[in-house]
């Protein structure tokens, strides 16, 4: 058990190291660096100035030196400076984190609260009209791009309330904040709820076929108790996996939704940084996302161990 944990942890570190190399290398094959962009934008071409800028930013050094600089800084909590704002990258990223975090949290709550009960209902009422409708709705949830969903909501708000719920200034009270984030969070969470519903349904169907469910029904346990206590408890393991994976993969939805609703979170910041080839921001943010995903996967494995005593890792 301990050996498994250690092995799993070391593997996680190896993966992260690999990702850091890949990201760093990918961003260095970009045609043109910030110096090129600045100069092509302003139209002045003075090779000496350009060299000077490259020297200041450390872009003239060999690529492996640049990499070592970055990693050593990262381990010391020094993320370098944003090329665009020239402020420390950490100061740029940190204030944006809670905004995206809240949005992701709300989206996940929305997805769990909608997706899991509907999945259970759909499974219990398998092959009825209700099941059919729910399945089509969930499939459409996987098909609608979340930015379009966001735009549609904006459009309806304009039409019926004459008001656009986009982010203009930081909210003052928690209630304001909730109201402001609720719509984008629902737009992001809709897709995840559809995914959760589908998974809950198939996982529940698997469990409902088991003998002990028939036993529970035979001994007279109530309908709700059989479905939600006996069945759901055993169907929950794969659902946890998807909740975990979705938590990390919400980032994709956040990127477009924050852009639509003009929310100044990290996800939209990533897109801006990519547009500006702001390497320090891009590589740190992508690294941060990778760390989140990898740790969540690690936690899911741990959750499996804790929740299902049948699983024993002997290797």
């Amino acid at each position: 058990m301990a050996a498994y944990l250690i092995r799993r942890f070391l593997l996680m570190l190896l993966t992260l190291f690999g990702i850091s190399v890949v990201i760093f290398a990918l961003l260095r094959v970009v045609p043109g660096n910030i110096a090129d962009i600045l100069f092509s934008a302003s139209g002045m071409i003075n090779p000496e100035d350009k060299l000077e800028i490259e020297r200041q930013l450390g872009l003239d050094q060999p690529i492996y030196i640049q990499y070592v600089h970055w990693i050593v800084g990262l381990l010391h909590g020094d993320l370098g400076y944003s090329y665009v704002s020239e402020k420390p990258a950490l100061d740029e990223i940190l204030p944006r984190l809670p905004i995206s975090g809240k949005l992701a949290g709300m989206a996940l709550c929305f997805a769990v609260m909608i997706g899991i009960p509907l999945g259970v209902i759909s499974a219990v009422r398998q092959n009825t009209l209700l099941d059919y409708v729910l399945r089509v709705v969930s499939l459409s949830g996987l098909s609608l791009p979340s930015f379009w969903l966001g735009l549609l909501v904006l459009m309806l708000c304009v039409r019926y309330f004459g008001w656009i719920p986009i982010y203009t200034e930081p909210p003052k009270t928690w209630w304001n904040e909730l109201a402001l984030f609720a719509i984008p969070a629902a737009a992001v969470g809709f897709r995840s709820s559809a995914l959760m519903m589908r998974l809950t349904r198939s996982s529940m169907l698997e469990v409902l076929r088991q003998d002990y469910i028939r036993t529970a029904r035979a001994k007279g346990a109530s309908y709700a108790k059989v479905n939600f206590v006996h069945a759901l408890r055993n169907a929950v393991l794969p659902i946890i996996t998807i909740v975990g994976i979705e938590a990390a993969f919400l980032v994709g939805g956040l990127i477009v939704t924050e852009t639509v609703f003009n929310i100044p979170g990290v996800a939209r910041f990533l897109v801006e940084a990519i547009r500006w080839r702001d390497y320090p921001i891009v590589q740190n943010l992508v690294m941060f996302i990778a760390v989140c995903v990898v740790s969540i996967n690690f936690l899911i494995d741990m959750a499996y161990l804790a929740l299902d005593p049948r699983i024993a890792y002997e290797k």
């Binding site: 996987l142 609608l144 791009p145 735009l151 994709g252 990127i255 992508v286 995903v293």
Partner: protein, 293 residues
């Protein structure tokens, strides 16, 4: 089989029709998906014949024209006909969707088949690499790739294809691991076939069913990712009419004055993805009975 086909062509055609009929009755949603996708494919192929205007032709006089008349779906700010742009957009969406799914599957199958069949340190190395690639969400990975490659149609295809590779490689590898232990592989070896020939001639065809299921599922998500990338202004560049970029051009300000610019491209994306998802589900039920609900 071939001899039966030539001997009794009518019986064969009838049975094929019967199969189609069975598919429609047994999987009505899957059939609907197939119809939707076929409609988009036909739209893409016959684009010049079903549109009146060049999708890139600007005409300031019909800027933001209301849907109806010569412009059934209206016109955008630059007076470009929306119907033409949606129809030609199907070409872009399908090109990127099919192109990147195909490319991703090609790499994924090659990697999965070789690593599963030959194993050893090569397999170990490949698996770690796949782990790394799967640690980033599809859209983030595609964003970083486009940032690295620069925006163009072919680069968008590559940028979306690469993040697909790990999931394909995983599925093919696990199937290969199972298949290579089966007696028919041993028989081929006993007959004296070389290992590469066995992998390609005998193992590969048996992984086709899960591959088809996976590819159909991925087709929908590649269309979505292309739309998202283009929406963010980092996907397919001008002058190609991309559904995603039409939405970014028409975003916040047109929400008030020209809702049709928001509704139609989004509906096109959703419908195309919905169609592939419907078909994908049905194919999964047919070809991968273990996952059947």
């Amino acid at each position: 089989m071939a001899t039966i086909d030539t001997a009794e062509p009518e019986v064969h055609r009838e049975s094929r029709l019967a199969t189609a009929g069975y598919f429609i009755r047994r999987y009505p949603l899957g059939a609907a998906g197939a119809v939707i996708i076929s409609a988009f494919v036909l739209m893409a192929i016959f684009a010049p014949w079903i549109t009146q205007f060049d999708p890139t032709l600007t005409n300031p006089r019909v800027s933001l024209a209301y849907p109806g008349g010569a412009h059934p779906l209206g016109a955008d700010f630059m007076g470009r006909d929306m119907w033409s742009r949606i129809v030609y957009g199907a070409r872009i969406s399908l090109a990127v969707g099919i192109g990147s799914t195909g490319l991703g599957c090609l790499f994924g199958v090659t990697i999965g088949l070789t690593s599963g069949y030959f194993g050893g340190w090569y397999d170990l190395l490949v698996q770690r690499l796949m782990d790394m690639m799967q640690s980033l969400p599809l859209l983030v990975m595609a964003l970083v790739m486009t940032a690295a490659l620069g925006p163009s149609l072919s680069n968008t295809i590559i940028a979306i294809a690469i993040p697909l590779v790990p999931s394909v490689a995983r599925v093919i590898r696990s199937n290969t691991l199972m298949l290579r232990e089966l007696p028919f592989v041993e028989a081929s070896r006993a007959v004296g076939m070389n290992e590469f020939a066995i992998a390609i001639r005998h193992v590969l065809p048996n992984t086709l069913a899960p591959l088809i299921v996976l590819a159909t599922a991925q087709l929908g998500s590649t269309i979505l990712v292309e739309a998202s990338l283009s929406f963010l202004g980092l996907g397919v560049p001008e002058p190609h009419p991309s559904w995603g970029r039409m939405l970014s051009e028409s975003a916040a300000e047109y929400v008030r004055v020209a809702p049709w610019l928001v509704i139609f491209p989004g509906a096109a994306i959703s419908l195309a993805v919905f169609g592939t998802n419907l078909l994908g589900d049905a194919l999964r039920d047919i070809l991968d009975p273990r996952q059947r609900d």
